[in-house]
Amino acid sequence: MVPDKKRGSNQRVANNLLALSSGAILSVYAVGYLRTRPAVERYADALPARRAESPAIPPPVTAVVPPAPREAAPVRAPAPTNAAPSRPTPALGNQTSEPADVAVIPTPDTPVVVEPSEPPPVAIDLPPEPSPVPTVAAPNLYKDGTYLGWGSCRHGDIQASVVIENGRIASAAIAQCRTRYSCNWIETLPREVVGRQSANVDYVSGATESTDAFADAVADALAQAK
Protein backbone atom coordinates (compact mmCIF):
# COMPACT_ATOMS: atom_id res chain seq x y z
CA MET A 1 0.00 0.00 0.00
CA VAL A 2 1.10 3.50 -0.72
CA PRO A 3 2.11 5.33 2.40
CA ASP A 4 -0.39 8.04 3.02
CA LYS A 5 0.46 11.43 4.27
CA LYS A 6 -2.89 11.64 5.93
CA ARG A 7 -1.79 9.23 8.62
CA GLY A 8 0.10 12.11 10.10
CA SER A 9 -3.02 14.08 10.73
CA ASN A 10 -4.66 11.13 12.43
CA GLN A 11 -1.64 10.75 14.66
CA ARG A 12 -1.70 14.34 15.69
CA VAL A 13 -5.34 14.57 16.64
CA ALA A 14 -5.17 11.30 18.50
CA ASN A 15 -3.37 13.06 21.29
CA ASN A 16 -6.45 14.93 22.28
CA LEU A 17 -9.42 12.73 21.75
CA LEU A 18 -11.59 14.84 23.99
CA ALA A 19 -10.99 17.91 21.85
CA LEU A 20 -11.66 15.84 18.78
CA SER A 21 -14.94 14.49 20.08
CA SER A 22 -16.02 17.96 21.18
CA GLY A 23 -15.11 19.33 17.76
CA ALA A 24 -17.08 16.58 16.07
CA ILE A 25 -20.13 17.44 18.11
CA LEU A 26 -19.88 21.09 17.21
CA SER A 27 -19.35 20.34 13.52
CA VAL A 28 -22.30 18.03 13.26
CA TYR A 29 -24.43 20.36 15.31
CA ALA A 30 -23.57 23.25 13.03
CA VAL A 31 -24.71 21.24 10.05
CA GLY A 32 -27.89 20.18 11.76
CA TYR A 33 -28.64 23.64 13.03
CA LEU A 34 -29.11 24.89 9.51
CA ARG A 35 -31.83 22.34 9.19
CA THR A 36 -33.50 22.94 12.49
CA ARG A 37 -33.43 26.71 12.25
CA PRO A 38 -36.64 27.04 10.28
CA ALA A 39 -38.42 25.22 13.07
CA VAL A 40 -36.75 27.42 15.63
CA GLU A 41 -37.79 30.52 13.77
CA ARG A 42 -41.32 29.29 13.40
CA TYR A 43 -41.33 28.61 17.09
CA ALA A 44 -40.03 32.10 17.81
CA ASP A 45 -42.84 33.60 15.77
CA ALA A 46 -45.41 31.73 17.77
CA LEU A 47 -43.74 32.28 21.10
CA PRO A 48 -45.47 35.48 22.24
CA ALA A 49 -48.87 33.98 21.69
CA ARG A 50 -47.94 30.81 23.43
CA ARG A 51 -46.46 32.61 26.37
CA ALA A 52 -49.66 34.55 26.78
CA GLU A 53 -51.48 31.27 27.15
CA SER A 54 -48.97 29.69 29.47
CA PRO A 55 -48.53 30.13 33.17
CA ALA A 56 -45.55 32.35 33.82
CA ILE A 57 -43.57 29.67 35.57
CA PRO A 58 -44.47 26.13 34.69
CA PRO A 59 -43.97 23.34 37.16
CA PRO A 60 -40.86 21.24 36.71
CA VAL A 61 -41.50 18.38 34.41
CA THR A 62 -40.33 14.85 34.33
CA ALA A 63 -39.80 13.43 30.96
CA VAL A 64 -42.25 13.91 28.35
CA VAL A 65 -41.64 13.32 24.82
CA PRO A 66 -43.81 14.07 23.21
CA PRO A 67 -46.90 15.24 25.06
CA ALA A 68 -47.41 12.28 27.26
CA PRO A 69 -50.48 10.15 27.10
CA ARG A 70 -51.48 10.62 30.73
CA GLU A 71 -48.92 8.30 32.30
CA ALA A 72 -46.10 10.21 33.86
CA ALA A 73 -43.64 7.52 32.96
CA PRO A 74 -40.53 8.60 31.15
CA VAL A 75 -40.73 8.03 27.51
CA ARG A 76 -39.22 5.19 25.61
CA ALA A 77 -38.89 5.34 21.93
CA PRO A 78 -37.14 2.81 19.78
CA ALA A 79 -34.42 4.15 17.58
CA PRO A 80 -34.99 1.60 14.87
CA THR A 81 -31.93 0.29 13.16
CA ASN A 82 -33.60 -0.01 9.87
CA ALA A 83 -36.34 2.46 10.19
CA ALA A 84 -35.05 5.10 7.86
CA PRO A 85 -36.56 5.42 4.46
CA SER A 86 -34.14 4.98 1.68
CA ARG A 87 -33.77 8.13 -0.24
CA PRO A 88 -33.44 7.98 -3.97
CA THR A 89 -29.78 7.59 -4.62
CA PRO A 90 -27.71 7.44 -7.73
CA ALA A 91 -26.62 4.01 -8.76
CA LEU A 92 -23.38 3.12 -7.08
CA GLY A 93 -21.73 2.30 -10.35
CA ASN A 94 -22.07 5.88 -11.51
CA GLN A 95 -20.09 7.27 -8.68
CA THR A 96 -16.59 6.21 -9.50
CA SER A 97 -15.71 8.94 -11.96
CA GLU A 98 -15.95 11.80 -9.54
CA PRO A 99 -15.99 12.29 -5.81
CA ALA A 100 -19.24 10.66 -5.07
CA ASP A 101 -21.79 12.85 -3.54
CA VAL A 102 -23.00 10.65 -0.79
CA ALA A 103 -23.48 13.51 1.58
CA VAL A 104 -26.65 13.57 3.59
CA ILE A 105 -28.59 16.31 1.95
CA PRO A 106 -31.07 18.13 4.08
CA THR A 107 -34.40 16.74 3.11
CA PRO A 108 -37.80 18.17 3.71
CA ASP A 109 -38.73 15.16 5.75
CA THR A 110 -35.91 15.57 8.20
CA PRO A 111 -37.26 14.44 11.53
CA VAL A 112 -35.68 17.28 13.47
CA VAL A 113 -38.05 19.79 12.01
CA VAL A 114 -40.99 19.73 14.27
CA GLU A 115 -44.21 21.59 14.14
CA PRO A 116 -44.74 22.99 17.60
CA SER A 117 -48.43 22.47 17.25
CA GLU A 118 -48.16 18.90 16.11
CA PRO A 119 -50.77 16.58 17.56
CA PRO A 120 -49.62 14.11 20.17
CA PRO A 121 -47.76 11.28 18.48
CA VAL A 122 -48.83 7.74 18.68
CA ALA A 123 -48.05 5.41 21.49
CA ILE A 124 -46.60 1.96 21.27
CA ASP A 125 -48.60 -0.42 23.36
CA LEU A 126 -46.79 -3.42 24.61
CA PRO A 127 -49.35 -6.03 25.51
CA PRO A 128 -50.18 -7.89 27.52
CA GLU A 129 -49.64 -4.97 29.82
CA PRO A 130 -50.50 -1.93 27.83
CA SER A 131 -47.90 0.62 28.70
CA PRO A 132 -48.10 3.52 26.31
CA VAL A 133 -44.69 4.32 24.95
CA PRO A 134 -44.84 7.38 22.76
CA THR A 135 -42.46 7.35 19.90
CA VAL A 136 -40.60 10.22 18.51
CA ALA A 137 -42.78 12.12 16.15
CA ALA A 138 -41.41 11.26 12.77
CA PRO A 139 -42.61 12.04 9.32
CA ASN A 140 -44.45 9.41 7.39
CA LEU A 141 -41.69 6.89 7.09
CA TYR A 142 -43.58 3.68 6.68
CA LYS A 143 -46.16 1.99 4.55
CA ASP A 144 -49.37 1.11 6.30
CA GLY A 145 -49.79 -2.46 7.35
CA THR A 146 -48.80 -4.97 9.97
CA TYR A 147 -45.24 -6.19 10.01
CA LEU A 148 -43.43 -8.90 11.89
CA GLY A 149 -39.81 -8.87 12.96
CA TRP A 150 -37.47 -10.96 15.05
CA GLY A 151 -35.03 -10.06 17.77
CA SER A 152 -32.92 -12.35 19.85
CA CYS A 153 -30.90 -12.54 22.97
CA ARG A 154 -29.30 -15.22 25.09
CA HIS A 155 -32.69 -16.32 26.35
CA GLY A 156 -34.08 -16.95 22.87
CA ASP A 157 -36.00 -15.18 20.16
CA ILE A 158 -38.76 -12.62 20.31
CA GLN A 159 -41.10 -11.73 17.49
CA ALA A 160 -42.64 -8.29 17.43
CA SER A 161 -45.62 -7.20 15.41
CA VAL A 162 -45.79 -3.55 14.47
CA VAL A 163 -48.88 -1.88 13.09
CA ILE A 164 -48.38 1.13 10.84
CA GLU A 165 -51.31 3.46 10.29
CA ASN A 166 -51.09 6.66 8.29
CA GLY A 167 -47.37 6.17 7.97
CA ARG A 168 -46.78 6.01 11.68
CA ILE A 169 -46.39 3.37 14.31
CA ALA A 170 -49.81 2.75 15.77
CA SER A 171 -48.81 -0.09 18.05
CA ALA A 172 -46.14 -2.66 18.67
CA ALA A 173 -46.65 -5.93 20.44
CA ILE A 174 -44.85 -9.12 21.25
CA ALA A 175 -46.23 -11.67 18.81
CA GLN A 176 -44.22 -14.72 19.79
CA CYS A 177 -41.52 -15.52 22.21
CA ARG A 178 -39.44 -18.59 21.60
CA THR A 179 -37.34 -18.46 24.67
CA ARG A 180 -35.88 -21.02 26.97
CA TYR A 181 -38.06 -19.70 29.71
CA SER A 182 -41.73 -19.09 29.99
CA CYS A 183 -43.06 -16.14 28.09
CA ASN A 184 -43.99 -14.69 31.43
CA TRP A 185 -40.68 -12.94 31.81
CA ILE A 186 -41.46 -11.05 28.66
CA GLU A 187 -44.73 -9.83 30.04
CA THR A 188 -42.86 -7.78 32.55
CA LEU A 189 -40.82 -6.09 29.85
CA PRO A 190 -42.70 -2.85 29.52
CA ARG A 191 -42.85 -2.52 33.24
CA GLU A 192 -39.20 -3.35 33.53
CA VAL A 193 -38.24 -0.68 31.09
CA VAL A 194 -39.86 1.91 33.22
CA GLY A 195 -38.81 0.16 36.38
CA ARG A 196 -35.17 0.70 35.67
CA GLN A 197 -35.56 3.99 37.36
CA SER A 198 -36.03 2.46 40.75
CA ALA A 199 -36.00 4.10 44.12
CA ASN A 200 -32.30 3.49 44.50
CA VAL A 201 -30.95 4.59 41.18
CA ASP A 202 -32.05 7.00 38.51
CA TYR A 203 -30.77 4.99 35.56
CA VAL A 204 -28.82 1.85 34.81
CA SER A 205 -25.73 1.72 32.63
CA GLY A 206 -25.39 -1.48 30.61
CA ALA A 207 -27.87 -2.93 28.15
CA THR A 208 -30.53 -5.39 29.23
CA GLU A 209 -30.90 -8.32 26.92
CA SER A 210 -34.66 -8.42 26.98
CA THR A 211 -35.15 -4.82 25.95
CA ASP A 212 -32.45 -5.07 23.30
CA ALA A 213 -34.11 -8.12 21.81
CA PHE A 214 -37.47 -6.43 21.68
CA ALA A 215 -35.96 -3.29 20.18
CA ASP A 216 -34.26 -5.43 17.54
CA ALA A 217 -37.54 -7.12 16.73
CA VAL A 218 -39.32 -3.80 16.32
CA ALA A 219 -36.50 -2.46 14.15
CA ASP A 220 -36.65 -5.57 12.01
CA ALA A 221 -40.38 -5.19 11.53
CA LEU A 222 -40.01 -1.52 10.66
CA ALA A 223 -37.40 -2.34 8.06
CA GLN A 224 -40.07 -4.21 6.17
CA ALA A 225 -42.47 -1.31 6.39
CA LYS A 226 -40.28 1.00 4.38
Partner: protein, 310 residues
Protein backbone atom coordinates in the same frame (compact mmCIF):
# COMPACT_ATOMS: atom_id res chain seq x y z
CA UNK B 1 -28.35 1.29 17.15
CA UNK B 2 -31.59 -0.58 17.44
CA UNK B 3 -32.16 0.31 21.01
CA UNK B 4 -34.50 2.17 23.29
CA UNK B 5 -33.84 5.82 23.85
CA UNK B 6 -35.19 7.67 26.84
CA UNK B 7 -34.95 11.38 27.36
CA UNK B 8 -35.86 12.84 30.71
CA UNK B 9 -35.91 16.61 31.04
CA UNK B 10 -36.79 18.44 34.19
CA UNK B 11 -34.67 17.31 37.07
CA UNK B 12 -33.15 19.88 39.33
CA UNK B 13 -35.31 19.45 42.38
CA UNK B 14 -38.91 20.17 43.19
CA UNK B 15 -38.37 23.85 43.94
CA UNK B 16 -36.45 24.68 40.85
CA UNK B 17 -37.99 26.83 38.20
CA UNK B 18 -36.52 27.18 34.80
CA UNK B 19 -36.40 30.74 33.62
CA UNK B 20 -34.48 30.18 30.45
CA UNK B 21 -37.02 28.15 28.55
CA UNK B 22 -40.34 28.54 30.11
CA UNK B 23 -42.82 26.66 28.01
CA UNK B 24 -43.67 23.06 27.58
CA UNK B 25 -43.60 23.58 23.85
CA UNK B 26 -39.99 24.72 23.90
CA UNK B 27 -39.06 21.69 25.91
CA UNK B 28 -40.99 19.35 23.66
CA UNK B 29 -39.39 20.87 20.58
CA UNK B 30 -35.94 20.40 22.01
CA UNK B 31 -36.71 16.81 22.92
CA UNK B 32 -38.01 16.16 19.43
CA UNK B 33 -34.81 17.53 17.96
CA UNK B 34 -32.78 15.46 20.39
CA UNK B 35 -34.57 12.29 19.24
CA UNK B 36 -34.14 13.44 15.67
CA UNK B 37 -30.38 13.18 16.01
CA UNK B 38 -30.64 9.51 16.83
CA UNK B 39 -32.64 8.92 13.67
CA UNK B 40 -30.39 10.97 11.44
CA UNK B 41 -27.12 9.55 12.71
CA UNK B 42 -28.50 6.04 12.64
CA UNK B 43 -29.69 6.50 9.09
CA UNK B 44 -26.27 7.76 8.03
CA UNK B 45 -23.98 5.41 9.92
CA UNK B 46 -25.73 2.06 10.12
CA UNK B 47 -24.13 -0.91 8.43
CA UNK B 48 -27.41 -2.78 8.38
CA UNK B 49 -28.84 -0.71 5.55
CA UNK B 50 -27.15 -1.03 2.15
CA UNK B 51 -28.43 2.44 1.27
CA UNK B 52 -26.88 4.20 4.26
CA UNK B 53 -24.16 6.69 3.51
CA UNK B 54 -21.71 4.48 5.38
CA UNK B 55 -22.51 1.45 3.25
CA UNK B 56 -22.36 3.43 0.04
CA UNK B 57 -18.93 4.66 1.09
CA UNK B 58 -17.66 1.14 1.71
CA UNK B 59 -18.79 0.11 -1.76
CA UNK B 60 -16.18 2.44 -3.24
CA UNK B 61 -12.61 1.26 -2.89
CA UNK B 62 -9.52 3.08 -4.10
CA UNK B 63 -11.12 6.45 -4.72
CA UNK B 64 -11.56 9.51 -2.54
CA UNK B 65 -15.19 9.93 -1.55
CA UNK B 66 -16.56 13.15 -0.13
CA UNK B 67 -18.88 12.46 2.76
CA UNK B 68 -21.16 14.42 5.04
CA UNK B 69 -20.01 15.73 8.40
CA UNK B 70 -22.35 13.27 10.00
CA UNK B 71 -20.27 10.44 8.61
CA UNK B 72 -16.90 12.16 8.45
CA UNK B 73 -16.75 13.25 12.08
CA UNK B 74 -17.46 9.90 13.75
CA UNK B 75 -15.21 8.12 11.25
CA UNK B 76 -12.29 10.50 11.78
CA UNK B 77 -12.77 10.17 15.51
CA UNK B 78 -12.86 6.39 15.31
CA UNK B 79 -9.61 6.39 13.34
CA UNK B 80 -7.99 8.67 15.90
CA UNK B 81 -9.00 6.31 18.68
CA UNK B 82 -7.65 3.40 16.64
CA UNK B 83 -4.29 5.18 16.32
CA UNK B 84 -4.26 6.02 19.99
CA UNK B 85 -4.97 2.43 21.03
CA UNK B 86 -2.78 0.77 18.39
CA UNK B 87 -5.79 -0.98 16.98
CA UNK B 88 -7.39 -2.23 20.19
CA UNK B 89 -10.28 -0.13 18.91
CA UNK B 90 -10.73 -0.48 15.17
CA UNK B 91 -13.73 0.60 13.11
CA UNK B 92 -12.81 -1.97 10.46
CA UNK B 93 -13.45 -4.75 12.94
CA UNK B 94 -16.67 -5.08 10.99
CA UNK B 95 -15.27 -7.67 8.63
CA UNK B 96 -14.37 -9.93 11.50
CA UNK B 97 -17.76 -9.50 13.04
CA UNK B 98 -19.30 -10.25 9.68
CA UNK B 99 -17.23 -13.40 9.39
CA UNK B 100 -18.67 -14.48 12.70
CA UNK B 101 -22.28 -14.04 11.75
CA UNK B 102 -22.87 -10.43 12.65
CA UNK B 103 -23.89 -9.47 9.16
CA UNK B 104 -27.09 -11.40 9.68
CA UNK B 105 -29.73 -8.87 10.51
CA UNK B 106 -30.93 -10.11 13.86
CA UNK B 107 -32.86 -13.32 13.58
CA UNK B 108 -34.61 -12.92 10.26
CA UNK B 109 -32.04 -14.86 8.36
CA UNK B 110 -31.91 -11.90 6.03
CA UNK B 111 -28.26 -11.32 5.18
CA UNK B 112 -27.07 -7.80 4.88
CA UNK B 113 -25.21 -7.02 1.73
CA UNK B 114 -21.68 -6.08 2.55
CA UNK B 115 -20.55 -4.76 -0.80
CA UNK B 116 -17.41 -6.20 -2.31
CA UNK B 117 -15.94 -9.19 -0.54
CA UNK B 118 -14.19 -7.78 2.51
CA UNK B 119 -10.51 -8.40 2.78
CA UNK B 120 -9.60 -10.59 5.73
CA UNK B 121 -6.63 -8.51 6.79
CA UNK B 122 -8.03 -5.00 6.56
CA UNK B 123 -7.37 -2.63 9.42
CA UNK B 124 -7.92 1.00 10.29
CA UNK B 125 -4.65 1.74 8.48
CA UNK B 126 -6.46 1.05 5.23
CA UNK B 127 -8.77 3.99 5.82
CA UNK B 128 -7.55 7.52 5.12
CA UNK B 129 -9.27 10.80 5.76
CA UNK B 130 -8.75 14.26 4.35
CA UNK B 131 -9.96 16.86 6.85
CA UNK B 132 -9.85 19.67 4.31
CA UNK B 133 -12.18 18.00 1.85
CA UNK B 134 -14.07 15.81 4.32
CA UNK B 135 -13.14 12.93 2.08
CA UNK B 136 -12.38 9.28 2.77
CA UNK B 137 -10.21 6.82 0.87
CA UNK B 138 -10.43 3.07 1.41
CA UNK B 139 -7.34 1.19 0.30
CA UNK B 140 -9.19 -2.08 0.14
CA UNK B 141 -12.60 -3.54 0.57
CA UNK B 142 -13.59 -3.58 4.20
CA UNK B 143 -16.54 -3.27 6.53
CA UNK B 144 -16.75 -0.18 8.68
CA UNK B 145 -18.55 -0.45 11.97
CA UNK B 146 -19.18 2.90 13.62
CA UNK B 147 -21.70 1.45 16.06
CA UNK B 148 -20.21 2.59 19.34
CA UNK B 149 -18.99 5.93 18.04
CA UNK B 150 -22.18 6.80 16.20
CA UNK B 151 -24.34 5.99 19.18
CA UNK B 152 -22.06 8.07 21.38
CA UNK B 153 -22.26 10.93 18.91
CA UNK B 154 -26.06 10.74 18.87
CA UNK B 155 -26.13 10.91 22.66
CA UNK B 156 -23.80 13.90 22.61
CA UNK B 157 -25.86 15.64 19.95
CA UNK B 158 -29.00 15.09 21.97
CA UNK B 159 -27.21 16.47 25.02
CA UNK B 160 -26.14 19.50 23.01
CA UNK B 161 -29.75 20.03 21.97
CA UNK B 162 -30.96 19.86 25.56
CA UNK B 163 -28.20 22.05 27.00
CA UNK B 164 -30.53 24.98 27.78
CA UNK B 165 -32.48 22.87 30.23
CA UNK B 166 -29.55 22.24 32.59
CA UNK B 167 -31.13 19.13 34.11
CA UNK B 168 -31.74 16.11 31.94
CA UNK B 169 -30.90 12.48 31.35
CA UNK B 170 -30.46 10.58 28.09
CA UNK B 171 -30.51 6.78 28.13
CA UNK B 172 -29.70 4.99 24.88
CA UNK B 173 -29.80 1.32 25.72
CA UNK B 174 -27.74 1.69 28.87
CA UNK B 175 -25.33 4.31 27.56
CA UNK B 176 -26.15 7.53 29.34
CA UNK B 177 -25.58 11.23 29.55
CA UNK B 178 -26.59 12.97 32.76
CA UNK B 179 -26.71 16.73 33.15
CA UNK B 180 -27.39 18.73 36.28
CA UNK B 181 -29.42 17.02 38.94
CA UNK B 182 -32.11 14.40 39.27
CA UNK B 183 -35.65 15.39 40.24
CA UNK B 184 -34.71 15.23 43.91
CA UNK B 185 -32.07 17.90 43.39
CA UNK B 186 -29.11 15.53 43.78
CA UNK B 187 -26.54 14.30 41.32
CA UNK B 188 -27.84 11.42 39.26
CA UNK B 189 -27.28 7.99 40.79
CA UNK B 190 -26.47 5.43 38.13
CA UNK B 191 -26.58 1.69 38.67
CA UNK B 192 -23.99 -0.41 36.88
CA UNK B 193 -25.47 -3.57 35.44
CA UNK B 194 -24.16 -6.80 36.90
CA UNK B 195 -22.42 -8.54 34.00
CA UNK B 196 -23.80 -11.95 34.89
CA UNK B 197 -27.26 -11.13 36.22
CA UNK B 198 -29.51 -9.31 33.80
CA UNK B 199 -31.52 -7.55 36.45
CA UNK B 200 -28.98 -6.91 39.17
CA UNK B 201 -26.55 -4.09 39.81
CA UNK B 202 -22.91 -4.58 40.65
CA UNK B 203 -22.25 -1.02 41.74
CA UNK B 204 -23.46 2.54 41.53
CA UNK B 205 -21.87 5.85 40.61
CA UNK B 206 -23.00 9.41 41.21
CA UNK B 207 -22.53 11.77 38.29
CA UNK B 208 -23.47 15.16 36.94
CA UNK B 209 -22.49 16.56 33.58
CA UNK B 210 -20.98 13.33 32.29
CA UNK B 211 -21.57 10.34 30.07
CA UNK B 212 -21.65 6.83 31.51
CA UNK B 213 -21.14 3.96 29.08
CA UNK B 214 -20.85 0.24 29.73
CA UNK B 215 -19.48 -2.40 27.40
CA UNK B 216 -20.29 -5.92 28.48
CA UNK B 217 -19.64 -9.39 27.17
CA UNK B 218 -23.37 -10.04 27.60
CA UNK B 219 -24.33 -7.81 24.70
CA UNK B 220 -25.58 -9.00 21.33
CA UNK B 221 -24.26 -12.50 21.22
CA UNK B 222 -23.12 -13.81 17.87
CA UNK B 223 -24.20 -16.98 16.16
CA UNK B 224 -21.43 -18.87 17.93
CA UNK B 225 -22.66 -17.66 21.29
CA UNK B 226 -19.62 -15.49 21.89
CA UNK B 227 -19.50 -11.83 22.73
CA UNK B 228 -19.36 -9.27 19.96
CA UNK B 229 -16.46 -7.56 21.66
CA UNK B 230 -13.74 -8.78 19.37
CA UNK B 231 -10.07 -7.97 19.74
CA UNK B 232 -9.48 -6.37 16.34
CA UNK B 233 -5.81 -7.25 16.50
CA UNK B 234 -6.45 -10.99 16.64
CA UNK B 235 -10.04 -11.46 15.56
CA UNK B 236 -10.76 -13.42 18.70
CA UNK B 237 -13.16 -12.60 21.50
CA UNK B 238 -11.70 -10.47 24.25
CA UNK B 239 -12.06 -12.50 27.44
CA UNK B 240 -10.14 -10.77 30.21
CA UNK B 241 -13.12 -8.67 31.26
CA UNK B 242 -16.86 -9.12 31.66
CA UNK B 243 -17.70 -5.43 31.57
CA UNK B 244 -16.13 -2.01 31.49
CA UNK B 245 -17.95 1.12 32.63
CA UNK B 246 -16.49 4.47 31.67
CA UNK B 247 -17.38 7.96 32.83
CA UNK B 248 -16.31 10.92 30.77
CA UNK B 249 -17.24 14.29 29.34
CA UNK B 250 -18.64 12.99 26.05
CA UNK B 251 -20.45 9.75 25.25
CA UNK B 252 -18.45 9.40 22.05
CA UNK B 253 -15.21 9.33 24.01
CA UNK B 254 -16.52 7.24 26.88
CA UNK B 255 -18.02 4.62 24.57
CA UNK B 256 -15.01 4.34 22.24
CA UNK B 257 -12.41 4.22 24.99
CA UNK B 258 -14.58 1.83 26.98
CA UNK B 259 -14.69 -0.52 24.00
CA UNK B 260 -10.90 -0.26 23.64
CA UNK B 261 -10.36 -0.74 27.37
CA UNK B 262 -12.49 -3.88 27.28
CA UNK B 263 -10.06 -5.34 24.73
CA UNK B 264 -6.95 -4.07 26.50
CA UNK B 265 -7.88 -5.50 29.90
CA UNK B 266 -7.89 -3.80 33.30
CA UNK B 267 -4.27 -2.62 33.48
CA UNK B 268 -3.70 -1.17 30.02
CA UNK B 269 -7.35 -0.18 29.87
CA UNK B 270 -7.11 1.88 33.05
CA UNK B 271 -3.96 3.55 31.75
CA UNK B 272 -5.78 4.47 28.56
CA UNK B 273 -8.72 5.97 30.42
CA UNK B 274 -6.52 7.92 32.82
CA UNK B 275 -4.42 9.27 29.97
CA UNK B 276 -7.57 10.90 28.60
CA UNK B 277 -9.01 12.04 31.89
CA UNK B 278 -11.73 9.41 32.07
CA UNK B 279 -12.58 7.16 34.99
CA UNK B 280 -13.69 3.58 34.79
CA UNK B 281 -14.84 0.44 36.57
CA UNK B 282 -13.60 -2.93 35.30
CA UNK B 283 -15.32 -6.19 36.20
CA UNK B 284 -13.63 -9.49 35.35
CA UNK B 285 -15.45 -12.73 34.54
CA UNK B 286 -14.66 -13.80 38.11
CA UNK B 287 -16.40 -10.60 39.26
CA UNK B 288 -13.25 -8.97 40.57
CA UNK B 289 -13.43 -5.22 40.34
CA UNK B 290 -10.79 -2.68 39.35
CA UNK B 291 -11.22 1.06 39.19
CA UNK B 292 -9.20 3.96 37.93
CA UNK B 293 -7.58 6.05 40.62
CA UNK B 294 -10.04 8.92 40.54
CA UNK B 295 -13.22 6.86 40.25
CA UNK B 296 -14.08 6.71 43.92
CA UNK B 297 -13.34 10.35 44.61
CA UNK B 298 -15.08 11.77 41.57
CA UNK B 299 -18.07 9.49 41.24
CA UNK B 300 -18.66 7.96 44.69
CA UNK B 301 -18.72 4.30 43.76
CA UNK B 302 -21.34 2.45 45.71
CA UNK B 303 -22.16 5.54 47.70
CA UNK B 304 -25.82 5.83 47.06
CA UNK B 305 -26.84 7.74 50.15
CA UNK B 306 -27.06 11.48 50.37
CA UNK B 307 -24.85 12.81 47.70
CA UNK B 308 -24.49 16.52 48.19
CA UNK B 309 -27.33 18.55 46.78
CA UNK B 310 -26.48 20.35 43.60
Amino acid sequence: MGTFVTIDVGGGGPDRTDHTLSTDAARDDAIERAFGWFHQIERCCTRFDPESELMRLTAQVGTWVTVSDMLYQPLAFALAVAEETDGAFDPTVGHRMAARGFCREHRTGRLVRLGPEPSGTASYQDVHVDPARKAVLLDRSLVLDLGAVAKGLAIDMAARELEPFAHFAIDAGGDLFLAGCNPEGRPWTIGIRHPRLDRALIDTVTVSGAAVCTSGDYERLGSDGESHLVDPRTGTTATSLASVTTVGPTAMLADALGTAAFVLGPVAGAELLERHGLEGLFVTPALERFVTRGMQRRYQLGHRTHAAAC
